[in-house]
């Protein structure tokens, strides 16, 4: 085997071109990782929001909660269906909720952005155990008190503990802050469902969230709702609801992904170019090594290791360049609810490993053809190269 020192010394000997390759691959990988971090963040914010066990009830044809309504009559019918999990007081675990998007000013943008206000009952917490009050206290029922997600408080004006803000003619008092573990609820304000409904003159709920007793109950409740012609409601798992929400953003992500793919192809070609230059300036010494007895595969191996090593460093560089975007909280408009979805860029271990793996793959691919061409050259001819 050709010693690794040979490769490392050669990379040092052409340090400018090596550094340029590392940066080039690094930038491509950084862009790609940022895209993946974005995708990762959006995905996490939405798909982790939904439980696969809970059922979401919406108006037939409604894409999102804001454009859905479920009458109080329907709520009463559904609440009475058999198979719904009961809480410790024997009451069915159904959470009727009102979802309204409204605009409030942001700290960095006085024009503001849409935020979801969700009217809830205590069942909302029972069905979403990961939502936890971290500061202040729970709102009292039938009052204008609200609790806000941690990230809402960071990004919007007048939403800190003790603050009041206006929504419609009413003033609302912030009495608590909750953490929603990075889910879609991390972009919401929660209030009492009845008070919110009256204040906003809503006679219907937006959605119901149901906890079925088991999977069989899930199917029977679903069938009961579908078959009741009075209701005209659709049922899906809460998880599916949020997956469907991502689809609005998915197109952009796919587009960016295709662009990134072209960038990776460019990285491969750039590596190939660098390696062709590297190989052609070393024809004579590679031929010498073959004359001495190193086999073709040893030469191919050495060249690929060299190329992959540069690409690996490029991958590491890419991660370093992409790290600053990690956990940057940002928002994007969800086109189906027109409300702001807050999420983090997440450069996690998976994203970082994918970056390294892709970098090394592009290094191997880029090094392959030059390496083979170096090993195929007749020794006697290559020995005459200066």
């Amino acid at each position: 085997m050709i010693p690794l020192k040979y490769n490392i010394q050669n990379l040092k000997a052409r340090s400018v071109s090596t550094l340029m390759s590392i940066f080039g691959i690094g930038i491509v990988i950084a862009v790609m990782l940022s895209m993946m971090a974005l995708y990762n963040g959006v995905l996490r914010a939405t798909t982790t929001s939904g439980s696969k066990d809970s059922m979401m009830v919406l108006r037939e044809g409604a894409q999102a909660e804001v454009s859905s309504w479920v009458t109080k009559e329907a709520y009463r019918i559904i609440r009475a269906l058999p198979g719904i999990q009961k809480d410790d007081k024997g009451q069915p675990l159904v959470s009727p909720e009102i979802v309204i998007a409204f605009k409030i000013p942001k700290k960095d943008d006085p024009k503001g952005a849409n935020v979801v206000v969700r009217g809830i009952t205590p069942n909302a917490f029972a069905l979403r155990p990961y939502v936890k009050l971290v500061q202040g206290r729970m709102f009292r029922p039938a009052t204008n008190e609200v609790i806000v997600a941690r990230r809402i408080r960071e990004r919007f004006k007048n939403t800190d503990l003790g603050d009041t803000f206006k929504f419609g003619p009413q003033t609302w008092n912030v009495v608590g802050v909750f953490d929603a573990a990075g889910t879609a609820f991390a972009s919401e304000i929660w209030a009492d469902v009845d008070y919110l409904g009256e204040a906003r003159k809503r006679s219907a709920y937006s959605s119901l969230l149901i906890q079925p007793a088991d999977h069989a109950a899930f199917e029977s409740i679903k069938a009961a709702i579908k078959n009741d012609n009075r209701l005209k409601l659709q049922v899906k798992t809460e998880y599916q609801y949020y997956v469907d929400q991502v689809n609005g953003l998915l197109g952009i992500v796919i587009l960016v992904f295709i662009v990134t793919l072209f960038m990776v192809a460019a990285a491969v070609l750039a590596t190939m170019n660098t390696m062709f230059t590297a190989v052609s300036s070393r024809k004579r010494e590679l031929a010498t090594m073959r004359a001495i007895g190193f086999k073709r595969r040893a030469i191919v191996g050495a060249m690929i290791i060299e190329s992959a090593f540069v690409a690996f460093l490029g991958g590491v560089m890419g991660i370093l360049l992409a790290l600053p975007v990690n956990l940057i909280s940002t928002g994007t408009v969800n086109w189906q609810t027109f409300s702001e979805v807050a999420f983090n860029f997440r450069v996690d271990q998976v994203v970082a490993s994918i970056g390294i793996v892709l970098a090394v793959i592009s290094g191997v691919l880029g090094g392959l053809i030059p390496a083979i061409s170096a090993a195929r050259m007749p020794i006697t001819r290559a020995l005459r190269e200066i």
Binding site: T288, A291, G293, K295
Partner: protein, 240 residues
């Protein structure tokens, strides 16, 4: 003298575009073990081609080459590579040291193809570098050495595996007279003291004087045989 290399009616034709260019037109010669043979002849006479064929980095178009009774002209590419690693030491006109490796590492390179331990390799490299008188330049890089020193490192690399044959292609072609003399004396010493079989291509008659015998090639044919001390080594077959 025992026959080490047997060359039987070897032909080599290169294809250049659509033309066949004959380089060797049926060369037969034997090289004995412990011989020091100089191959001379004008440019294009085929001397380097013959050397490359003996060294196993090229294959003849016709004829047979046997080294220690093994027909290397029938070896596959991979077999040849392993064979060269064990049996051939190379010395080139432009030294062909690996610029990014120091003298020690350059000499160690062929040993990486053996099963020797790191310690054994170090001992072999030390011995080889001491034979060529560069024991004190072990960690110098090629660019820190003079041409003569570089060629002596290359010679150390050629002998470190204790090969069956040492092939040298114009080993003094790039050196001044003093350094050339030094390198030739070294080769002669390897032949005299260590009984190394050496085949050397040169166009310099003074260099050829260091050999035991000299073969002249012209237009791909052996034209005459001038010999020094090695006259008796000529076989009847080679003469024919």
């Amino acid at each position: 003298m025992e026959v080490l290399v047997r060359i039987e009616n070897v032909k080599k034709i290169y294809r250049r575009d659509e033309f066949d260019v004959p380089v060797l037109n049926g060369v037969s010669v034997d090289v004995g073990r412990g011989d020091f043979l100089a191959l001379m002849g004008p440019s294009g006479s085929g001397k380097t081609t013959l050397l490359n064929l003996i060294a196993g980095i090229d294959r003849p178009t016709g004829g047979r080459i046997l080294v220690e009774e093994k027909e290397i002209s029938r070896f596959s590419e991979t077999q040849l590579a392993s064979w060269r690693a064990r049996h051939v030491g190379f010395i080139f006109q432009l030294y062909n040291l690996i610029p990014v490796l120091n003298a020690f590492e350059n000499v160690e390179l062929p040993l990486l193809l053996t099963k020797l331990s790191r310690k054994e390799r170090r001992e072999h490299v030390n011995t080889a570098l001491n034979i060529v008188g560069l024991g004190d330049r072990m960690f110098h890089y090629p660019r820190q050495l003079s041409g003569g020193q570089e060629q002596r490192v290359a010679i150390a690399r050629a002998i470190v595996t204790d090969p069956t044959i040492i092939v040298a292609d114009e080993p003094t072609g790039d050196l001044d007279a003093r350094n050339a003399e030094e390198v030739l004396n070294l080769l002669q010493r390897l032949n005299d003291e260590f009984q190394k079989t050496i085949i050397m291509v040169t166009h310099d008659p003074k260099a050829a004087q260091h050999a035991r015998r000299t073969l002249h090639l012209e237009k791909g044919m052996l034209v005459e045989m001038l010999t020094g001390a090695g006259m008796e080594a000529m076989s009847a077959r080679a003469e024919a």
